[in-house]
C-alpha cells in the first residue's frame, strides 16, 4: 500500500536528520541544558524532534479528487507512530553500528560523537536495547504529533500555544530572569537557580496562562479588538486604544535597555545597527529591485568616514598613532558629511552597473563589495585607515558630556537613527519616487517608456540605500570605538540580504523582524553560537519553502512572487478550455 510506503519514507528521512543533528553536536553538547525541570532538556527535545515532525507531516490532509480529506484519528495515529518508529529505528541502527564500529574511530572525523552521547541516546542501556527504546520513544512522539494533527482546532490551538510558550520561555532562561530581577520581581517560582530552566510549577502556570489567553482570543478576540480599535474612530480617526498601544510601545522601547540588562542591550544595539543596514538595502533590493550583494561597502564607508571625520587615530604597534585626518569634527556635524560621502559612493557603485540586471548585477556588486575589504587592508591606505591594524578612538557621539559608547546609552542613539531611517524610507516609498521605483522593478523598459528616467532612479536608489546603510556603519563605529577590516567581510552583505529577504522584500516591519531573528536570536542564545550558520541556512530554506514572500510581507512584492504560478495556472486553464473545445468538436 502506497500510504505505508510514504510513512516509512518520511520516517527514514527523519532518522537521517536525527543522525545529522547528533553528528553536529546538537544532542551531545546540550544534555545539561534544562528547559523545564531536569526532565525536559534540549538534547531530549532534539532527539524526538525529527520523529515529531515526521508524524505531523505524514498526517497532513490529502487532496483527493479535488477534496481535502483529513485522516481518521485512528489511522492518523497509526501513520504517525509508524513514521516515528521508522525514524527511531534508523537512528537506533546507526547507534548500534557506531558502537560496533568503535566510537573513537568515528570521533576522528566527527568530533561530537562520544561515549556520553552514545550513553545518552541509548538511555544508559546496551546499544541494542537502547535502539529498541529509541524506536518505541520515537513511535510515541510520532503518534503524539499525529494525534495533535487530528485534534479539533478548539483544543489544538491552546495546546500548541501553551507548549510553544513554555519552550520559548525555557530558551530565554538567560534573559527573562535578569529582566525580572531588574524589575524587582520574584523569579524563583518561575526559573530555577540551580538547574537553569523553568520550574515545573512555572511551566504549568505559564502554559495554563498561554492556553487560557489562546482560548479567550479564539472566542472573544475579534469582538474585543473591534471594540478597542473602533471606539472614537468617527471623531478623530484614531481609536483611543490605538493611542494607548502606541504609548505603550514607546514606553517599552524606552525602558527596554534598563529592564533587560547590559548583555541584552548590547545585542539589541547590534540588532539596531543591522536594522539600519536592512532599511538601506531594502531600498535598493526591495523597492528598486536591484540585487546588491556588495552592501558591506556602505557599512565600511559609513564606519570609516565617521572615524576619520571625528578624529580617530591609527593603530600602530606601539599603541595609538596620530589621527589620520586632523579634522576632529563633532559627531553630529560629521554625520551629514558621512551621508553625502555614502551617497556619492552609491553613485560610484551604481554607475558601472546601470546596464546590468539580475544575476549579472548581483555578481558585479559582489565583486565591488569585496573590493572594500581589499582596499582597507591595503598597504596603500595604511596612512589613512591603518590597514590591518585599524583605527581607534572614534567619537562616542557625546551630547553635553553624555556619551553613547556605554551599551545602554548606545541603544538610544541607534534607536533614534533607526526611527529617522524608517521615517525617510516610508515617506520615499509612498511618493512619486517610490512609485517610479516600483514601476521600474515591475517592468524597467516600460517604466522608461512612460517617462521614468531609469538611469536616474537606479542611481537614486543606490545613493539613498547607501546613505541609510552608512548610518549603520557610523553606529557601529560609535558602538565599538575602534575599527579593523575584519568587521567588513562579505558575510555582512549576505547577512543583511538574508534578513531583508527573511522579513519580506520591500517591507519595513520585515526588516525589523528579520534583524531580530537573524541577529538578535543568535546574540541571545550564545550557547548556539556555533550553530549560527546551520540555523541561518535552515531558516532561509524553511522560509523560502513555507513563506517565500517573507515573514512580514509587502503585499505587492508577494504578489509579484506569485505571478509566475498564476501565469502557469492561466496557461493550464487555457489548455483545459482548448481540450474541452476539441473534445466538444469530436462529439
Amino acid at each position: 500500500m502506497t500510504d505505508v510506503r510514504s510513512w516509512i519514507r518520511v520516517g527514514i528521512i527523519a532518522g537521517f536528520v536525527t543522525i545529522f543533528l547528533a553528528l553536529v553536536g546538537l544532542i551531545g553538547r546540550f544534555v545539561d541544558l534544562n528547559l523545564v525541570g531536569e526532565q525536559v532538556t534540549f538534547a531530549r527535545l532534539v532527539l524526538i524532534a525529527a520523529p515529531l515532525v515526521a508524524g505531523y507531516v505524514v498526517t497532513r490532509p490529502r487532496i483527493q479528487a479535488g477534496e481535502r480529506r483529513a485522516l481518521a484519528p485512528r489511522d492518523a495515529i497509526v501513520a504517525g507512530a509508524v513514521s516515528g518508529a521508522t525514524a527511531g529505528f534508523v537512528f537506533g541502527i546507526a547507534v548500534v553500528a557506531a558502537d560496533a564500529f568503535g566510537i573513537d574511530r568515528i570521533r576522528s572525523v566527527f568530533l561530537n560523537v562520544s561515549e556520553p552521547l552514545i550513553d545518552f541516546v541509548t538511555f544508559g542501556q546496551p546499544p541494542v536495547v537502547g535502539a529498541v527504546i529509541l524506536t518505541a520513544v520515537s513511535a510515541i512522539a510520532g503518534g503524539l504529533a499525529a494525534g495533535l494533527r487530528v485534534t479539533p482546532i478548539v483544543a489544538r490551538r491552546p495546546i500548541t500555544t501553551a507548549v510553544s510558550t513554555i519552550l520559548v520561555l525555557g530558551f530565554l532562561q538567560r534573559i527573562i530572569p535578569i529582566a525580572l530581577d531588574q524589575l524587582g520581581l520574584e523569579r524563583d517560582w518561575l526559573y530555577s537557580r540551580s538547574i537553569g530552566g523553568l520550574t515545573w510549577l512555572g511551566a504549568i502556570a505559564v502554559g495554563a496562562a498561554a492556553a487560557g489567553l489562546s482560548v479567550l482570543n479564539a472566542r472573544k478576540g475579534r469582538e474585543l479588538r473591534a471594540r478597542l480599535f473602533s471606539a472614537g474612530e468617527e471623531k478623530t480617526g484614531v481609536a483611543p486604544a490605538q493611542l494607548v498601544l502606541v504609548l505603550v510601545l514607546v514606553a517599552v522601547l524606552v525602558a527596554v535597555p534598563w529592564v533587560v540588562g547590559e548583555v541584552i542591550s548590547q545585542v539589541l544595539g547590534t540588532v539596531l545597527i543591522y536594522v539600519l543596514l536592512g532599511i538601506g538595502l531594502n531600498i535598493v533590493v526591495g523597492y528598486a529591485g536591484l540585487l546588491d550583494l556588495g552592501y558591506v561597502f556602505f557599512f565600511a564607508v559609513g564606519a570609516y568616514s565617521t572615524a576619520l571625520l571625528t578624529g580617530a587615530a591609527l593603530n600602530t604597534f606601539t599603541g595609538s598613532g596620530p589621527p589620520a585626518v586632523s579634522l576632529d569634527l563633532n559627531f553630529y556635524l560629521a554625520i551629514p558629511i558621512v551621508l553625502l560621502i555614502a551617497a556619492g559612493a552609491g553613485l560610484l557603485i551604481g554607475a558601472p552597473v546601470l546596464r546590468l540586471r539580475g544575476d549579472y548585477l548581483a555578481l558585479v556588486t559582489l565583486g565591488l563589495g569585496e573590493m572594500v575589504t581589499v582596499l582597507i587592508r591595503s598597504p596603500w591606505l595604511v596612512p589613512l585607515v591603518g590597514g590591518p591594524n585599524g583605527m581607534r578612538g572614534v567619537s562616542d557621539a557625546a551630547i553635553a558630556g553624555f556619551g553613547f559608547r556605554e551599551t545602554q546609552h548606545f541603544y538610544y542613539l541607534a534607536l533614534g537613527f533607526v526611527l529617522l531611517a524608517v521615517f525617510v524610507s516610508w515617506r520615499l516609498s509612498a511618493s512619486r519616487i517610490g512609485r517610479a521605483w516600483t514601476a521600474m522593478r515591475e517592468d524597467e523598459q516600460t517604466a522608461e517608456a512612460m517617462g521614468v528616467n531609469t538611469t536616474r532612479f537606479k542611481l537614486l536608489a543606490f545613493a539613498m540605500g547607501g546613505a541609510i546603510g552608512s548610518l549603520g556603519g557610523s553606529m557601529f563605529a560609535v558602538q565599538i570605538g575602534s575599527l579593523t577590516p575584519a568587521s567588513f567581510e562579505v558575510q555582512v552583505s549576505i547577512l543583511v540580504l538574508g534578513l531583508v529577504i527573511l522579513g519580506g522584500l520591500g517591507s519595513l516591519p520585515g526588516v525589523v523582524v528579520g534583524s531580530l531573528v537573524l541577529v538578535g536570536l543568535p546574540g541571545l542564545l550564545r550557547e548556539f553560537e556555533e550553530y549560527r550558520g546551520l540555523a541561518y541556512g535552515a531558516a532561509l530554506v524553511a522560509v523560502m519553502i513555507l513563506r517565500p514572500q517573507g515573514l512580514v510581507p509587502n503585499v505587492r512584492r508577494s504578489r509579484e512572487l506569485q505571478e509566475e504560478e498564476r501565469a502557469q495556472d492561466e496557461w493550464a486553464q487555457e489548455k483545459e478550455v482548448e481540450v474541452a473545445a476539441v473534445e466538444g468538436m469530436a462529439t
Partner: protein
C-alpha cells in the same frame, strides 16, 4: 486635407538586427491632428518603427524629427517628456500596481518633486501629488465606467484583457502626449469592443487634439479611423494614401497574398 505642419518626420530610417534589415530607408511623416495607420504583413517592420521612434532602439541610419527637432539618440523617457507616448503590442502594464497607480506613473515626467519634497511632504509636493492623482483619474475617465470606481484600486493584473489594453491607452494619455503611438490596440478584442475603441480613437483626436499613429491588422478599424494609410513591407514603404487607394494597391495585395501564379 489641409496641410498642417508635420509633427513627426521620418527620413531614411534604417534599423538592422545583424543580417536582418527591419527598416531600410523609410520615409514618412505625420501631420498635426492626423490619424495615420501603418499596415503590413508580419515582420514588415511596423513595431520596429515604433520602437525606433520612441527611443527603445537606436536607429542605424536616418533621422526622426518631432516638431522639427531631431530625437535620435534621446532616451525613451526624454522622448516621452517631449510628448510622444505609446502602447505596446503585447500588453506591458505594471501588473501589481493598482489601476490608478499605473496611470499615475504616466504623469511621472510631468512632475518633479524630489527626495526632500517626498520626505518632508512639503506643500508643493502634496499639491503635485494631488494633481498627479487628478490627471490620472481624468485619463482613466476617458473610458467611462470601464476603468472607474472600485476598479481603480485593484491591481492591474485583475483586469480583463480588453481593459488592460484600455489601461495602457489611459496610461499613455496620462503622459499628456501630443503624438500617440498605438500598437495593435484592438488585438484580442471582440467586435463590439473593437467598434467601441474605433470610436474612441476618433474621440481622442476630437476632444484632446492628439495626433495618432496606429498599427492595426483589423482592416475595419483601419478603414474606420485612418485619414491616411501607410503600408510597409520588408522595412520599406510600399504604398501610401487613403484607405481605398492603399487597399487596392497591387503591391499591397501582393505583400499580403503573394504574387499571382508567380510560383
Amino acid at each position: 486635407m489641409s496641410e498642417a505642419p508635420a509633427v513627426l518626420e521620418v527620413r531614411g530610417l534604417e534599423k538592422h538586427f545583424g543580417g536582418l534589415y527591419a527598416l531600410t530607408g523609410l520615409d514618412m511623416e505625420v501631420r498635426g491632428r492626423e490619424i495615420v495607420s501603418v499596415i503590413g504583413p508580419n515582420g514588415a517592420g511596423k513595431s520596429t518603427l515604433f520602437n525606433t521612434i520612441t527611443g527603445l532602439y537606436g536607429p542605424d541610419g536616418g533621422d526622426v524629427r518631432f516638431e522639427g527637432q531631431s530625437i535620435v539618440g534621446l532616451k525613451p523617457s526624454q522622448i516621452t517628456r517631449l510628448g510622444i507616448s505609446r502602447t505596446f503590442q503585447t500588453v506591458h502594464l505594471f501588473p501589481n500596481m493598482t489601476v490608478l497607480e499605473n496611470a499615475m506613473v504616466g504623469q511621472h515626467s510631468r512632475s518633479r518633486s524630489g527626495v526632500l519634497g517626498a520626505v518632508l511632504r512639503l506643500p508643493s509636493q502634496r499639491n503635485e501629488e494631488e494633481r498627479i492623482r487628478g490627471k490620472a483619474r481624468e485619463s482613466l475617465s476617458f473610458f467611462g465606467p470601464r476603468l472607474s470606481g472600485y476598479r481603480q484600486e485593484q491591481p492591474a493584473f485583475t483586469l480583463s484583457y480588453a481593459n488592460r489594453r484600455r489601461l495602457e491607452i489611459a496610461r499613455a494619455l496620462a503622459t499628456e502626449p501630443k503624438l500617440l503611438l498605438l500598437d495593435e490596440p484592438t488585438a484580442g478584442m471582440n467586435p463590439t469592443e473593437t467598434q467601441e475603441l474605433t470610436d474612441q480613437i476618433w474621440r481622442l483626436r476630437k476632444d484632446r487634439g492628439v495626433t495618432i499613429l496606429v498599427i492595426e491588422h483589423d482592416m475595419r478599424v483601419v478603414k474606420g479611423v485612418s485619414d491616411r494609410v501607410i503600408a510597409l513591407d520588408y522595412g520599406k514603404k510600399i504604398a501610401e494614401g487613403t484607405y481605398e487607394e492603399v487597399a487596392h494597391d497591387e503591391r499591397v495585395i501582393e505583400a499580403y497574398l503573394g504574387t499571382k501564379a508567380s510560383a
